[in-house]
Symmetry: C2
């Protein structure tokens, strides 16, 4: 078989991991691909001590790689959406297949890039863009292709999951754990992307489009981060038999599609509730298969490289046998993608955890429950924590049954207007995931 | 695109599930496959009230299907290894691709069937043969293709897992739960295949061959069932922080490959320890990706149909674009498969749980620990349960550190020879799965 020649752009964490894995496991990889995979060129502005490129053909201008006529597959690992987009566009224009780990690029510009690739007869593969080494894109596109996907829910940001796990296991507060995560290198100096849910939103929009067969719609996601979760919420959730996880959730019903990223209470008995630390997991509900879950490391040099190389091997298998790589970039034929009604968060129905601080005197709880009842929201459980000191305030924690978000927000507004309620009411959504 | 015409042989549980899923989800399936999938013919000795085949072309002679010149893909769902083997052989000889859910057929006759398929330029796909609806074959063959797989461990028999879960949750004994499992339809009238680990062994040999790139070797598996697990073992395991699961374990080291199916104590903190009831899960350790886990329903009409249809869609995608379906049946090019040294169970090194009944008098424990020490086995934890009645026997439970199986068996033999020990010593292997 003719070897398949690739070019790697970027030698950061994932680039060096990819370079190293391709070298170390070349025997297994060739045997699986049915052909040899050769790194024809590496484009990197600087060397990375994590990998020895002394015998490789390295160029400082990454655009040399996409212009190299020998290169059949361009592996874009520079990140960002400016130069990376130009690079991918030029690779496509030059008739090269593209493998990328760039979730922002796919989530925000995937529609136009896929259209360009289809027009040129090339493929963009992006398994590494979501959940690192977990082959979840392949599972959704191929493994579950028999199913109507009803919903999926994922822990798809390892930094956020590390923080929530530490908060629960050690009773630490958010800011304290975030600082440690930054020191450990799990979180960026600017942690906004991770803790405010933007990174998770990028991944969720990709998963949802493949699951439901619709164009990527990054602007339609509701996103709420974890920075307002307090240690006491973690503790009360535990008492109620729940864990708090930062989930990306995509659902499709007859009413439409909802994409949302937010902290979520989930029953501790669900397998995904036990996914701790920096690990990722995606739970998918198909109408035929039922629930399946995919778990593994969501980041890191070699876990992400594992997904990058899997895409390269898939392409190599096709190229070696003269086949046409799959151009159904979102798992569905491009002309079969559908626009669904995208529901805003206010229309979503879910259960809620509420926590509020109230004066410790008779009648307070009765007023609150009256407001809930007026809004048609029934209460599933209440914890009332009496103050430790005379005259101090009591904490009231509630689990509601399923209610529409706008009704819940209206009830909260009324509750906050009570003169016996101090400050604002914390609300966290609750999902049973069954 | 030209539609892809398939023939379904067998209308039992999986056959009717496949027929129904293909019908119900035909819009999604065609959109994903990029072409229409048409059920050209169904071969079934009798109708199944679970599906309405009134508008289908049904033949009572299943061999009509493999002789039908219109049929491009034969879906073998009759089970067994006699007629099914003839059917698949004739399908291959007639140039048809084959999709099957038949784990026994693949595990025992896969090598020869794959060779025949390769010679004829056709493919045998068998995602549904292992772990029902979980796309684990695809994950190993494609999703993890960058990795040297170091080991995998799976709960790959739902009946056995249901029994062990009930024993733990409700303190019931094996025979009692087995009877219920039979009444619920989870276990066959003859439960040997499930509870003695033969079904799991079939699946493990397939997983291991794909993971390591070696021919199928069903005769090389060590198999031990769960029928001797007693409720007290389940209880003691819990006390020690473990769960007992019936695992299929495949490991590859420099010394060779070990394939084994046996009850195993695993730390309760591992995600796979929380996989309960009839659900399956496979934990895979790759050198690049680290640990990944795949979870879902391991049996049932539609979960299994989900995997069958996924294989059909994969084939249809290739056939529709004029590609050549992947003939690396075990994930590696056929000429790249290697024979590894297959280690017998006696050479395996693992930790052990031991339970024995001893006379309640001084010096007994010291004699036991002396024997263990003489065999070079160190002890990690001991529970000694004093008898409730004067003069009755005490239970001694031990966790050992890692030791070679033959050393452990020699120690057990010496312990059983002590006149203070009553009956035989129970031993269950312990794996940390980290």
């Amino acid at each position: 078989m003719k070897p398949v020649k690739i070019g790697i752009c970027g030698l950061g964490t994932v680039g060096s991991g990819t370079f190293n894995v391709l070298g170390r496991n070349s025997a297994e990889i060739s045997a699986r691909a049915g052909t040899e995979i050769i790194i024809e060129q590496v484009g990197a502005r600087r060397d990375n001590p994590a990998c020895d490129t002394s015998s490789a053909n390295v160029t400082r201008d990454i655009f040399d790689v996409v212009r190299n006529p020998e290169v059949a597959v361009v592996v874009e690992l520079i990140g960002g959406t400016t130069v990376a987009k130009q690079l991918v566009e030029e690779a496509i224009a030059n008739g090269k297949h593209v493998v990328t780990a760039n979730k922002a690029l796919i989530a925000e510009f995937g529609n136009e890039l896929f259209a360009k690739a289809e027009a040129q007869g090339v493929t963009i593969a992006y398994e590494a863009a979501v959940a690192g080494g977990i082959p979840i894109i392949k599972a959704l596109r191929e493994g579950l292709s028999a199913n109507k996907i009803e919903w999926l829910a994922g822990i798809i940001n390892g930094t956020g999951n590390f923080i929530l796990t530490e908060m629960r296991d050690k009773g630490r507060d958010f800011a304290d754990v975030l600082k440690e995560a930054q020191e450990l290198g799990y979180a960026e100096a600017d942690p906004t992307f991770d803790v405010e849910g933007i990174d998770a939103a990028h991944k969720l929009v990709i998963l949802a489009s493949i699951a439901f067969g619709m164009p990527l719609q990054f602007d339609k996601i509701f996103t709420e981060g974890i920075s307002k979760i307090e240690p006491q919420d973690v503790t009360y959730a535990n008492e109620l038999g729940y864990r708090i996880k930062h989930l990306g959730i995509a659902t499709k019903t007859e009413d439409g599609v909802v994409l949302r990223v937010h902290p979520t209470l989930i029953p501790e008995k669900r397998l995904i509730a036990s996914v701790d630390g920096v690990m990722n997991a995606v739970l998918v509900k198909g109408d035929a298969v039922g629930p399946t879950l995919y778990y593994g490391p969501g980041a890191g040099a070699e876990p992400t490289a594992s997904a990058v190389v899997a895409d390269i091997v898939d392409l190599a298998r096709e190229l070696a046998t003269g086949g046409k790589p799959n151009q159904a970039h979102l798992g569905f034929a491009a002309d079969a993608l559908q626009e669904f009604n995208m529901l805003p968060m206010s229309e979503v129905t879910t259960a809620y955890y509420l926590r509020m601080t109230a004066e410790d005197r008779p009648g307070v709880l009765s007023k609150i429950t009256q407001i809930m009842s007026d809004k048609g929201i029934s209460i599933e459980a209440v914890i009332q924590r009496e103050p430790q000191n005379e005259g101090a305030q009591a904490s009231i924690i509630m689990l509601t049954n399923r209610a529409q978000e706008k009704q819940l927000l209206a009830a909260i507004s009324d509750i906050e207007a009570l003169d016996t309620i101090e400050g604002s009411v914390t609300h966290i959504r609750v999902e049973s995931l069954d």
